[in-house]
Symmetry: C2
């Protein structure tokens, strides 16, 4: 039922990942996280990226490329010029194309002759051909600005509708997801040059169904397969081993490998810019801008728990359409009000905020999503994963999880989220998603959210008292707005209403865009809010543990 | 005729490279430099290096390896333990072997899992099996020390014989040559990871027939094939080019590529130690010690003129057996007397000294080797090479060059070499190997030897006046020793004679090894030499240009 509420929006949402129909056999059920990852990685290996002239004859380009094999899909996008992503049906087509692609002639001796899957397509005779060329359809690779979004939200018929509009505008598109996997696959080409069994996989927001257009691509280098090879075979009286560089610690090996791959990207990788090696971090990584795809990338080495977190969110995001709509709305809300930030600090992270929403959804009655312990009970033998002594097992098959009986609207859920955390006893309690329960805080961090897989760790350890207080205050203010607002009056006043009101910085409504009228104007609201804050001040301080 | 003089020594000399019989078709003529290079490089790609226990059952190892394919050749050598170089008949055998070789188990997570062609072979049950294991025959990879050589020379029957003994002890063996090409091939694996069309080839002493056991391996990275690809194809109205890192100069591209490959060797290459990047040199290079093969290596980027110099020497070295015997003897002589040095400086280089010998041999009557202009006249269309505006064409087919009519013995040639350069007018004249003539010096460098391919350059520009004077003085002293010495008397006195006398530091005969007797002892010789030097002092100063 809950799914039906979102149904009319679902039809216009390009669902990334799980809803795509690829073959009829698995069409009856949603794919597992691993199936989606494997399929997308394999697709990306058959994909090339071509820089095109601003006007071109799409048909002729495709005709030309088709001479190297069947094309499965393609799209165009703008990123310092027009680019085409082209997915062939067979990997061999890429090699066939590469065989006839030339090395830039203009400065033949001044290029690094690394042959990637990034090409430039030009017309030999641009003038005479221009007549046949037409602009191509461009797939957007970034979301609209918040002020434009607010305009769109104005015309919706409910807060639920507004939340689905936001989701639709901000979520990753099918095209953007392909581009992310391609970026990983191109980095994988670098890693496989030396480690043919390695894989570069995206994790986090690119794959957990909660990614926003424009978010960074987190990727990791996986040697898993290599290590499995090591344990195989060895019969007879002999043993033959590779001579290999030995290092005193795995961390040092990771640092050296990342460092060299970083140098390779820097020196050989077309469009790999601003390489930063952050090798002394807890999790060593290489940051770089990948200009051809337009992504900011973070490359680290396989972190099994991070993948499990991605998979867990993938499952929650796929269980019920309200989950993602609520998370996207709340992330946008938190960002507008400065509760989250793109740089690390004492702010609540997007991951922590998402986990707060998950916890809230576990606590509904009836619950909208199951607890992690419940997901673990549904796990079968192949779902068993013990990582570093932690049991990270949970069901991977979505069809084994019963749909929720909960029928609350997103309007209700949004308002209740603010109320729930506006009144949460952060001083005493922590959020435990494994059990779906508030439990006593094991230590004094202002905000304590149990790491679902490493139960001794607090994923929101970075959050300080002032940031938590700000969050609680904003939640209360938002709950108040939603409860008190007169939608009809606001629409008459041409003021933002519902979600749009929450996405406008409080006390900063824009007089140019939204003409003020008499009645319950924003200044009136602000003074009311101020009085609310005053009256609640002692309560708030108690709640956040002062 | 000249060849016949050396014939009895040739039978015991393992001729590297050109004399090997590989197939009957080309057996009738000596192979060209390029044919030899191509064949050896291809062999090296089918070759693996295996670290073995100190005692092993050779038969069982070969039996085990044969399960992956036919073995063409193998040998064992000592280098921090026993190693086996094994050349398979097919390249696919290497891949087949690699598939079953394990990653070191002991510290599984602390290795860099780069899979090379370097393996370690161990017995699972070393104690029980030990009975079956026997020591294997080891091929020497270094030459005997000079004092041991001098003992061997004592028993020879002529100076010619002594010179062939020296050649036989010092020249590269078939096995050592294979090991050198393997070292290049292993570095090539690193380069091909990113540049699949590239080749790493040895040049200089490893391939010019004048290399001494233990000399460094000079290798270069060749992108030649890559660039040829670039010019191919391109039809239809479109053009497709690779996106590639562009750099303002070829030099910068070279530096970046060498730098990254240096890092890869350093961090991933088993046994690649002491990597030094010398990127700001005129010819940027990376130096490293390759422990598995035991070589000190210099990796640079393709230098066509250096290859042509190697080929020219290869031709001269193959034309007449006296050429190499004379060069090896004179290099050893120069080294003993401090005229050459392994570190760069104002000393005469081995290359310059070799060119002086070539010039001397061009000047004999009749000449023993042709001039470069004569070799150019014999060149056909495929031998044409213009490099950077310089005509580097010369004949590649050895059979086109007529054998010399000169029948002088090496005894005569050695003595005449000292006399010729002892009296050469270095003040006025330079050595021009292209024309085989002394010509007026174009500038005032103490020693001027025309670069055979870049005629404006002096290959011995580094040599200063004192070093040249020392060379001339030593040449005169050596001529005097050879002319004056009484071999029978010296043999009775158990003193070094002939070449051995020349290889004993003058005035430093060793009383422990060579007991002094009355008669023309070393001290008498020294005083005679001193008087000679005095009487010749003004003449010497005039000759060297003071």
């Amino acid at each position: 039922e809950a799914n039906q509420r979102g149904a009319k929006f679902l039809c216009i949402i390009k669902l990334p990942v799980a809803s795509r129909k690829v073959n009829t056999e698995v069409n009856t059920r949603k794919k597992t996280f691993t199936e989606v990852q494997t399929e997308r990685l394999e697709q990306a290996e058959r994909t090339v990226l071509i820089k095109c002239p601003s006007r071109l004859n799409e048909k002729k380009l495709l005709q030309y490329l088709s001479s190297h094999g069947k094309i499965n899909s393609h799209f165009f996008f703008e990123n310092r010029g027009i680019h085409a992503l082209v997915e062939f049906s067979e990997k061999s087509s890429v090699a066939s194309l590469q065989d006839v692609v030339g090395i830039p002639k203009a400065a033949e001796h001044h290029v690094v002759p690394f042959k990637s899957r990034l090409f430039t397509f030009t017309l030999k005779n641009p003038v005479t051909k221009a007549a046949q060329e037409t602009p191509v359809h461009l797939s957007p690779q970034s979301h609209i600005p918040v002020n434009e979004l607010i305009q769109k939200l104005y015309r919706a018929d409910s807060i639920s509708s507004q939340m689905y509009i936001l989701l639709n505008e901000y979520q990753l598109t099918e095209e953007n997801t392909k581009l992310r996997f391609l970026a990983c696959s191109l980095v994988q080409d670098f890693a496989r040059a030396y480690f043919p069994d390695s894989t570069v996989k995206p994790f986090g927001s690119s794959v957990n169904t909660f990614g926003k257009l424009g978010c960074d691509v987190d990727m990791f280098l996986d040697f898993h397969d290599t290590q499995e090879h090591a344990t195989q075979m060895k019969k007879g009286p002999f043993e033959m081993e590779y001579q290999m560089k030995r290092l005193p610690s795995e961390r040092l090996a990771t640092q050296k490998i990342l460092s060299v791959i970083g140098d390779c990207l820097d020196n050989f990788g077309p469009g790999c810019m601003s390489i930063q090696k952050i090798l002394n971090a807890r999790c060593p990584l290489v940051k770089f801008a990948h200009q051809p795809t337009g992504f900011q990338c973070d490359l680290s080495v396989s972190n099994s728990i991070a993948i499990k977190s991605s998979e867990l969110l993938y499952i929650y995001g796929n269980l019920d359409s309200r989950v993602r709509a609520l998370v996207f709305s709340l992330r946008c809300w938190a960002r507008v009000h400065g509760l989250t930030n793109s740089v690390p600090g004492t702010w609540i992270t997007n991951f922590s905020l998402t986990m707060m929403v998950m916890f809230f959804l576990q606590k509904r009655s009836p619950p909208i999503i199951p607890t992690l312990d419940q997901l673990k009970e549904l796990a079968d033998e192949k779902d068993k994963h013990i990582i570093g002594g932690n049991d990270c097992s949970f069901v991977s098959d979505l069809s084994k999880i019963n749909p929720t009986k909960n029928t609350e609207t997103l309007d209700e859920l949004l308002c209740d989220f603010f109320e729930y955390f506006g009144n949460f006893d952060f001083r005493k309690n922590s959020l435990n998603l494994r059990r779906g329960k508030e439990v006593n805080k094991p230590e004094s961090s202002p905000l304590y959210i149990w790491n679902p897989f490493e139960q001794d760790l607090n994923i929101s350890k970075n959050v300080n008292q002032p940031q938590l207080e700000k969050f609680v205050a904003m939640a209360r203010e938002s709950a108040w707005i939603l409860q008190k607002e007169d939608r009809t009056q606001r629409m008459i006043n041409k003021e933002p209403w519902g979600l749009a009101a929450l996405l406008t910085p409080f006390g900063k409504s824009n007089p140019n865009k939204m003409r003020r009228t008499k009645g319950l104007g924003s200044e009136t609201i602000r003074s009311l809010l101020d009085s609310l804050k005053l009256s609640n001040a002692s309560n708030l301080q108690k709640a956040v543990g002062k």
